[in-house]
Symmetry: D2
Subunit: 177 residues, 4 copies
């Protein structure tokens, strides 16, 4: 079975995007990168920073309402359709609800061959990297580092606190069929 | 018939993105913004700057090869699926091949209610705005300004050389069913 | 007397940066662009979003405290030193206190040949452009559009509601000695 | 003697900016961050990508001509003046000519108390991080990794291949007087 979708799940500042770019560079065929940040970028202001949409709290907590969920469902349906139409897709995601998020994602990707990857990073390391990046709401890294993995089942897990992005990508690539 | 997709077609630096943001702000329901720039951002380096992918010439000319067309087809299929799943979508595009591009796009969006919008801008004005932006390859604005509209049929056309982005958005919004 | 510094003063989203880039493109000698946004980017988080530093309110109001003023003074002293050392500098500024800001800036630039430029834009137009840009705190454009010009004396004024960035740049360039 | 300037020298993608942001977060007083990237951003197009200015080659090599050197001299004179006026400054630099670059920088900063920091990173690790970042010309990291340190004398050296940005920042902070 040929891998059609790679799902990278990890907290903010865990290093998912760097791994995704390395995967694009080393995998023999072209893969496209899509993620929740792209969806956030596409949203109208009315859905960002509203209770029914996505709200970012002062301490980095992210809450998600029904208006966002409706759009996310349509967006994920489309991403799955891209994969079914032949695009190889690396999805860069943050499972805010852990196992429940994976369940939902599994539904959208039904029938596709998915490689589930956990991108772990010690909360303290992620929090320090969030400071080093300087472009994220402080607190997101620490608050998401462990919760996003709760109950989630993976094909492979990598830890960016112990390996470089390229090393993680190589480990993942060896699981891509 | 309720409008499901708004396609904004215009050359580089014609002002499409600004109009799309204004549309998001004034339309009563949430619309998401997707465009060829998002696809380019998602591509692997092997497809960017290669003869079979997308190549940007020294004078702003853009050439597109088969490797890109294959991915674009899957991507557009997915965008259409998002719209069929209920997302309202503003597509920010550059019809490099004019009528042939519209034909191809029409195919991907089959069955959806589409509002076709031409975003015109005098080549000289667009070229000067390209300098003012400072983040685009010089020459793209002038070389695309007129060719992208050749043979394309619109429901409405706006000219950003004669109206502000918000004014253009208001004119377009009055055609959204 | 050869112009050594061009000060562009205008509210947020009035179009100063676009004019500055056009000036760089059309002026015969090399000019460098520096502005209050560069200073903000250089600041530590402790000075951003603090009462004694720079604080951005929910409605776009900007308040500036002593900790910021101390750093700004050293920064402007350095920018003036660059000009005295031979760099031609376009300063992109927002005179939050109108005439008092100009007075302070005049002090820093003492002995240098300065061209003072007012970049005007109707508050409603600037507010709509702020929406079209999508990367600024909503409300800044409207709240600054007129206050930043109060009591300020210019060598030339341009209005980006009535002319393109390049047209404004040409008008300014004709005053550069 | 109180430290007035911290110079971080290292190749592209060695991690200087992350360390600088961490230093800003942990040092008790406000420090501002300025670097060669800010100067590049401020330059006119005529100085970028020209033989007499700064030219970026296909393999990541950077060549610098007289027109750039003249502006750089004025810019560094101004940065030194900011420090003399009381701003604490972290300079993020790339000593393309190694010892000769340090000599030149030492001249600009004459009379100031400077902490010289070498930011080392194994060329292979830096090259892989360049891929993970995805926003730099490929090859810069590898070509600069070792040459920028040739003959340069430091107060402290850190290695981002063996420590996180925050760990490096803590080591440096303990040397800030």
């Amino acid at each position: 079975m040929v891998t059609q979708v790679i799902v990278l799940n990890g907290g903010s500042s865990s290093g998912k995007t760097g791994i995704a770019r390395c995967l694009q560079a080393i995998l023999p065929r072209p893969w496209i990168r899509l993620g929740v940040d792209d969806l956030l970028e596409a949203l109208p202001p009315s859905v960002l920073d509203s209770a029914s949409g996505v709200a970012f709290g002062q301490r980095g907590e992210v809450t998600v309402g029904d208006a966002f969920r409706v759009i996310e469902a349509a967006w994920m349906t489309g991403v799955a359709a891209m994969a079914r139409a032949g695009a190889r897709i690396i999805i860069d995601d943050v499972f805010l609800s852990g196992a429940a998020s994976q369940q939902r994602t599994r539904g959208y990707l039904a029938g596709l061959e998915v490689l589930w990857v956990g991108v772990r990073c010690d909360p303290q390391i992620a929090a320090a990297r969030e400071i080093a990046r300087g472009d994220r709401v402080t607190g997101m890294a620490a608050s998401q580092a462990e919760t996003v993995h709760q109950g989630v089942v993976y094909d492979i897990e990598v830890d960016t606190g112990h390996a470089e992005p390229m090393g993680c990508a190589r480990a993942i690539a060896s699981h891509v069929a």
